[in-house]
Symmetry: C2
Subunit: 602 residues, 2 copies
Amino acid sequence: MEPIQLKTWAECAPRLVAVAAGRAPADTVIRNGRWVNVHTREILPDHDIAIAEGRIAYVGPDADHCIGPETEIIEADDRYMIPGLCDAHMHIESGMLTPAEFARAVIPHGTTSMFTDPHEIANVLGLEGVRMMHDEALMQPVNIFTQMPSCAPSAPGLETTGFEIGPDDVSEAMQWPGIIGLGEMMNFPGVVNGSQQMLAEIAATQAAGKTVGGHYASPDLGPAFHAYAAGGPADDHEGTCEADAIARVRQGMRSMMRLGSAWYDVESQITAVTEKGLDPRNFILCTDDCHSGTLVNDGHMNRVVRHAIACGCDPVIALQMATINTASHFGLERELGSIAPGRRADIILTSDIETLPIEHVIARGRTVAKDGEILVDCPHYAWPEHARNTVRLGHELGADDFAIPAPEGASEVTVNVIGVVENQAPTKALTANLQVEDGLIQGDIETDIAQIALVERHRATGDVTNAFVSGFGYTGRMAMASTVAHDSHHMIVVGTSREDMALAANRLGEVGGGVTVFREGKEIALVELPISGLMSDAPAADVAAKAQALVEAMEACGCTLNNAYMQHSLLALVVIPELRISDLGLVDVTRFELTDLVTGTK
Amino acid sequence: MEPIQLKTWAECAPRLVAVAAGRAPADTVIRNGRWVNVHTREILPDHDIAIAEGRIAYVGPDADHCIGPETEIIEADDRYMIPGLCDAHMHIESGMLTPAEFARAVIPHGTTSMFTDPHEIANVLGLEGVRMMHDEALMQPVNIFTQMPSCAPSAPGLETTGFEIGPDDVSEAMQWPGIIGLGEMMNFPGVVNGSQQMLAEIAATQAAGKTVGGHYASPDLGPAFHAYAAGGPADDHEGTCEADAIARVRQGMRSMMRLGSAWYDVESQITAVTEKGLDPRNFILCTDDCHSGTLVNDGHMNRVVRHAIACGCDPVIALQMATINTASHFGLERELGSIAPGRRADIILTSDIETLPIEHVIARGRTVAKDGEILVDCPHYAWPEHARNTVRLGHELGADDFAIPAPEGASEVTVNVIGVVENQAPTKALTANLQVEDGLIQGDIETDIAQIALVERHRATGDVTNAFVSGFGYTGRMAMASTVAHDSHHMIVVGTSREDMALAANRLGEVGGGVTVFREGKEIALVELPISGLMSDAPAADVAAKAQALVEAMEACGCTLNNAYMQHSLLALVVIPELRISDLGLVDVTRFELTDLVTGTK
């Protein structure tokens, strides 16, 4: 499959000029709409747009001179003509979809440009995986730019990823056609402490003239924050309150405010503009992470813009935050993000500027969706076998692999337990006293203590790290396994039954990855994610339906938490406090070091 | 001379991070100022700035942790700390000064970044001349970026320049370190008509990822204007009224509003922001052309910003228009144009945000001026002999070279006469009946008709084109000659005496170019411009004094027009209506063709 070739402005200029001057006919003319001008912040009624070669040739009061016998006419009928929406920072893998299927899901919502960090696949397949995502992205009928992942592993020394990313990889990727910058620099302690490797990745990106993505996930706005800003990241989406947003913009960074499936950081930050009256140009909207269910049921960037407007933001300013502000940030303001000559003809027609129904979506001059229906093909990359076969367990697992031997002679032990917190990414470091039977430490359904295992799946070592977790509320014999296991994406298995844990793990080995739930020895839900164990190349609606079945299966096993699959998949994320599991053991993320499972015996 | 090496942000990052974190001392700390934040549009009292390696390491409420025993402390004493001012489009040659002397003149006014189009020297010395300007620019202690001239000759076929610029030159120049984009694309009819050469120059600039300067000098905002915008220019400084400014910004161009020595286009356009309330981000201030007298007596960008504020613009918005808006336009928003980490430490201290006294100027971390006094060296390029010896007349001129023979047997003729208009660039196409004596057509002091001659000076052809001009009001025997003769920069001689015309022309040949006035056979004023016949490497004050003496000499010869030297030097500018002179003859600039001098005889 070849990437779709969009001619550059320079290549089209002779024709664009001729069309605007009335010497050549346009391919398409949109007639009689309200031009939402994100350069001036105006809404201008009675305007026409002429399009040629997928780019805008003319926007003005009358495009009659651009119309020839073959010109397609689209009647805007006084509707608003807004630029296609941009998602400034996001991870496609979060939708459990390939770039093609993600695109297919969001195009009807009016998203025509995405800035994506394929950070998850980088941990599984390294630079080659990033390249595959990048290549499929370039095949799509909309603009998917790739941010080169910066931090794999996310916590060097505390976990082993499938692959690692270093400054040389970053330098190499900067030469690829679809790379727009460096993905979120999550290792903020590294930057603050002057890590040579992190600063070298930033330097390679700056040398290429590209944008360095930031990720400063700390409420500390003192010298550490200033040091991070001095290191070079140009944006940040980790702010959660007004003071965070303001501090970032004052320091010359752009504040990316996110509304993802589980992120709600717009309402708390947009007051910097709506109430404090700051210049809005450096505020940008994004999603960061969207599950397929959100895409199918709620929308994508249209959902975020609507939400910003509902938070009191002027609609045209909210649109600027999802169009020209984003384009400017990535050095693309003359390429996309507005309806103006030379730009890619990415245009939405909508009859209401506040509720934003996405009625007609044009991308690169083509009608790609109408009234929620996609009308264009989103080609699939030919994923090679080794990208579909990434779950390498080394041997068939048995219940013994999940046995946790007690110290010799102990009848009861005190253990560290990972405590899941509803709706939050951080965990609690708990302790519990557990019984020993047959020399093995036992979980305890009564006090909601299940087993958790990290199954190595990249190098077929056969290693299993065992520990305990509390908070899911599982009852009866069950197990749930997932190869989505941020950020190293080994396999996380949680269960009350060692037999079911083995069955679930083996099942994911068999299908090449995904998420499964077993109850009393039988599989009751399965989401297959064959591409690197992270993504499906099935349509979003199918994946969303299976994900919904998964939630129901978890409930059937006694889980009462909201959105607990997210909690499950984050239990190995060794950069967020307090206690996590990795292939190297139990990790105390308050001190960034390994810690013991058993702390005492009786 | 080597260009001044400023380390990149990436090269400085380890130190900047260490300073911000408090692990290393800053070179300089500015204490207790009001931070004018052009990102958020705020003024924040009680802030400190720490500087290292010429860049900003920290801006925050307290830089005590950045201070070591060697750290220089500058007390802001509650003054405003504003970013160094940027001139977004200008021609250094207009000041009749070399880049070094121009920089020396404007640094005390707070200008720390200039975007300069060495368009004039390109006509005289071609690409090599551009390179010399570029190289001297890079030697300065402030930021002088070069826009590669796009249009030499300005009107192909109507004049012969010393050198021509084409797409290959543009491509080559785009690789030079100091080139920021393409200089104003003045050939707007060429772009509108799809000129391959003009579009190729634009394409070469876009391919290099740089900014295409525009120049659309027409009030027509119909399809021709739209076609120009579709051709690729990213800005325009030729707007003169509010509608011009708005139209450009709506089309995704930036509106550059200029206040030069003879341009007054801010007041009439800034109402787009101050009254119409448009988003100010795409409005930029510039000077375009400043004479040395303006620089010495009135200021530079500080004059423009003050004027914008006096026109009712919010002071911080006016400052944005001369700092971050400019930087963003040229893709430099993370390099300069604001006081934020990583940026070049270009900072002005001022005690009043409206009258803008420029009290302390810091460029790249160094104090370069205080209270109007420059404190830094502005190194001169070693201009080679052939750049100082560009006035090649072929032979010593005599009165005969300025004789205008009448058609045989005529005693009176009707001729086309260039009519000078006070304070305006356009001329009027006049006609007059003139007497013939000894077979030669005679000027007429009584009706204010003097002779004008275009003396070829690039190729030593010895050619002189003769014609008539009206409007200066010269009386008695005199002549004035100038090698500043836009855009081809041959030599323009105006006089009432053929003998004095020859003396004046020969004198400029002798001194290597400049401007001279002769009266009754004696020189009464001279501005030497030895560098390419356009610039002096003497200080601005000296040049301004000589230019003032020149004005007085013109008055002494009977001239009553304001600023008539500008009129003189523009008489060969064959792109502005109505009638001009070139080395090829008299040019009708309403029809873009050569026309006859004599139209009738008696």
